[in-house]
């Protein structure tokens, strides 16, 4: 799969838009875009676990919660955000590795339920362990980070901070999916038995897929905390995990740009469907069902199929042309 010239140009245009566009946006627009970045990072993590390695997880929201709480607690106590973010990522990496163990034993819906149970348990811990998480009242007054010497209290400055983190992650993510690891993930998804027979240590890769995916959830959470400047248990209830799963599916699971697109739709959706008043969630749910009927690999799945079809048509047309030309020369 080579990047075509079109894709490169499109990526550059989008990158430029993300750099320059927010200067002209209101505080609200910048906040929404920052939220999109946070959700994209979490969805990228889930896309690695689900889209590439084929391991379903309904616990990504819980990892966001762990990341948010760890980094809220650390930054409130004066630690700089990058340290808190790395700590969040590390904690979630370890937790994700552990959550990967059930995946070694069970698959599909069983795995979905194990991870769902994990997410529900995490919510209960956030809510009940008041001595550390602040309980039902949550944690307030979470500071925004400094970049070098500059405070990022303003919406634009913090947006760029988030964008910087996203940039780094997008690069790492690109490298990862093209690395032997990424290919091993795909092999795992397509046919685990075959992958094993090819000498891929499937056990280790399943754990790695869970660990890295979860760590990215932690990073997303550690940006969520200073963005909202408030964390409370309901924010990380099971709903969030379901939402993130839908983002990955809608965008296109297993596609590099899938999580970006899925998160964009989910974050902007209430805005786009504002005219429908109370019906936006219903319409979204309807759209998701329709999409799954048409293409279970999401919007990018449709686009991909369309492009492949066109290429096939062009190729077969070319073949037909050469063939008829050949026929003509024969005559």
């Amino acid at each position: 799969m080579k990047l075509s010239a079109f894709a490169i140009v499109a990526s550059l245009v989008v990158a430029l838009g993300l750099l320059v566009g927010p200067i002209f946006l209101s505080d609200y627009g910048r906040y929404i875009l920052s939220m999109w970045i946070v959700m994209s990072i979490a969805a990228i993590g889930l896309n690695l676990t689900l889209g590439y390695a084929g391991q379903v997880s309904l616990a990504q929201g819980a990892f966001m919660g762990v990341g948010a709480y760890v980094s809220a607690l650390m930054t409130i106590h004066g630690w700089p955000l990058p340290v808190a973010m790395l700590t969040s990522a590390l904690v979630c990496l370890v937790l994700g590795w552990m959550l990967g163990y059930p995946a070694l034993r069970v698959q599909h819906h069983y795995l979905a339920f194990v991870t769902l149970a994990f997410a529900s348990l995490a919510f209960l811990i956030f809510r009940n362990e008041e001595w550390i998480t602040g309980g039902v009242d949550g944690l307030a007054n979470i500071p925004r980070p400094y970049f070098l010497w500059m405070a990022t209290d303003g919406s634009l400055a913090f947006y760029y901070y988030c964008l910087g983190v996203l940039g780094l992650i997008a690069l790492g993510y690109y490298g990862l999916v093209r690395s032997p690891w990424g290919r091993a993930f795909l092999a795992l998804r397509e046919n685990p038995v075959r992958a094993m027979s090819l000498g891929i240590d499937t056990r280790r890769y399943i754990l790695v897929a869970f660990a890295i995916g979860s760590a990215l959830g932690g990073v997303a959470g550690s940006l969520f905390a200073p963005l909202v400047q408030f964390v409370e248990p309901p924010a990380f209830a099971v709903d969030l995990s379901l939402k993130l799963l839908l983002m990955v599916i809608v965008g296109g699971s297993g596609f590099y740009f899938g999580p970006f697109l899925g998160a964009l739709i989910a974050v902007l959706l209430p805005e786009w469907l504002r005219f429908t008043q109370g019906y936006y969630l219903m319409l979204y749910a309807f759209f998701v069902m329709l999409l799954l009927v048409i293409s279970p690999s999401g919007i990018l799945g449709i686009a991909d199929k369309w492009i492949t079809d066109r290429k096939t048509r062009v190729a077969s047309a070319a073949r037909a042309a050469t063939a008829s030309a050949f026929e003509e020369t024969k005559q």
Partner: protein
């Protein structure tokens, strides 16, 4: 001691509710590998078919009957034709995710109609029984009885009738079943219709105990999944065992361990069962299909 007995008996009564919801869930899985993530909402919805009729003065039995028929049409036939059939060929996971979307769709739909909790009239109102010092409402006993009756009927249907054998053959290997001349599609449709009827009956029985509200499906659904998995996903009787166990564990856990973590105890049970006995307490081991 009297206290413990009481907790167990009320727990069984609540567990029967979970069991009733879980039965259809396991049934769909068995015959068509469908995981219905919206099963809890399937039980929430029929109450709202019946309530307007009851308010309009339609006799109780007729309102329930029409509710059951509507439910078989919409949640049985409609669900299969519009959602399951087109998505099933993509695999188990897309269908599970579609179920999540369907759950949102149904909840939001009912919420836009009414966000209130509604009283739902009981089949047997205001009658309590004393059992070993515990007090259980007649409605709860009706739930237990119906849940047991449904399981027995389904076991009979699946194991003793031709249609049942055909359904099981379909479940075990639909390709071979088709080769043997079994009308596979019709068999699968039957199970969806049965589920449609079951959720409507469950709705009529359960709503007087938990009220009719758009959000009840969340709690019911989660409890039903847990019950089904703990009991055994591939056995209809597993749903009963799992449901009853869950109700009891929940009560005892919140009384003697922690009320703050009352929801955690069934979840831990779920995780342990999946890790160490994935076929469930009552289930047969399933060959691992890859």
């Amino acid at each position: 001691m009297a206290n413990l007995v009481n907790l167990i008996i009320t727990g069984l009564a609540t567990g029967a509710i979970y069991a009733l919801v879980a039965i259809g869930f396991t049934l769909l899985w068995q015959t068509s590998q469908t995981i219905n993530f919206a099963q809890g909402d399937f039980v929430m919805l029929p109450a709202f078919f019946m309530l307007p009729m009851l308010h309009a003065g339609v006799p109780y039995w007729l309102a329930i009957l029409i509710g059951v028929i509507l439910s078989m049409l919409i949640l049985g036939y409609g669900y299969k034709k519009l959602l399951v059939d087109p998505i099933r060929k993509h695999g188990v996971l897309p269908l599970a995710i579609a179920g999540m979307a369907l759950s949102i769709f149904m909840q939001e739909g009912v919420k836009n109609y009414t966000a209130e909790a509604h009283v739902f009239p009981a089949l047997i109102p205001n009658l309590d029984f004393h059992i070993f010092g515990a007090v259980v409402s007649a409605q709860s006993i009706a739930v237990v009885v119906v849940a047991l009756a449904v399981v027995i009927a389904l076991q009979w249907l699946l194991n003793k009738t031709l249609v049942g054998h055909q359904m099981q053959a379909t479940a075990q290997n639909s390709t071979v079943a088709r080769l043997l001349g079994i009308p596979v599609e019709r068999m699968v449709l039957y199970t969806f219709l049965i589920n449609g009827a079951l959720v409507a009956i469950a709705s009529a029985l359960v709503s007087p105990l938990i009220f009719a509200k758009f959000s009840t499906g969340n709690i019911m659904g989660m409890a039903a999944f847990t019950a089904a998995i703990v009991g055994g996903f591939n056995q209809v009787r597993g749903a009963i065992a799992g449901g009853l166990l869950l109700g009891v564990v929940n009560n005892i856990g919140s009384a003697y361990i922690s009320a703050q973590y009352r929801d955690a105890i069934p979840l831990l049970l779920l995780i342990l069962v999946i890790l160490f006995r994935p076929q469930g307490l009552m289930g047969r081991a399933e060959e691992r299909t890859v």
